[in-house]
Symmetry: C2
Subunit: 110 residues, 2 copies
Amino acid sequence: MSKSNRSELSSDPEFQLITKALGVISGKWRLYIILLLGDQTLRYRQLSEMLPGVSEKVLASELKSLVALGVMKRTAYAEIPPRVEYSLTRKGQLALPILKKIQEIGQIFN
Amino acid sequence: MSKSNRSELSSDPEFQLITKALGVISGKWRLYIILLLGDQTLRYRQLSEMLPGVSEKVLASELKSLVALGVMKRTAYAEIPPRVEYSLTRKGQLALPILKKIQEIGQIFN
DNA sequence: CTGAATCCAGCAGGATACTG
DNA sequence: CAGTATCCTGCTGGATTCAG
């Protein structure tokens, strides 16, 4: 990483990229949820059951953020009872291999 | 990621790895500091100057955490004035290529 | 020079109840 | 079924001062 001592860190393009990337993966459950979804399409209820101990509020807001970030897409069907499915976007799938690598870091420092 | 519906998430080994990895990279500056150091050896003052806007307290505690995690090593010389140098451990260097990849995630979602 | 100590604000994340 | 609405708490990171 080369340094161009500008006075503000926030103007460093590398810093901006890192911040962006951290937005996708940081948070107690975020990365785990993405890897859990993987290439599947899952309903809200399925995700919820796969994440025991994560409250509705937290799961819902994480999913919302991930959709807003462009990692996942949400598809709602106008049925009764309601059905909502989540899957990775193309960008999400692009990022997936790298995200899986992050687990290796966990192994290195075990 | 395959799921074996055990009742507690914290007993899932994959979750543990992810949590471990997140410990290394999450935090507003942590990942940036690691990439900034890269293969170099830098003194505290140099790091501090490369990180305008990061207070002494935050920098010092981040470095301490990174040393505790085994990512960096700290070498202090008994001189006056004191000299302290930081560099990546072998484990840190092992992780470096993956950490660099994380920036690509930032590019994907730009 | 290299930090530690203190004090403090904001927000991510959790518990629980309720709605379309 | 798929979420909101509230309310609450602890931790992360920031400002400033002090010390070896």
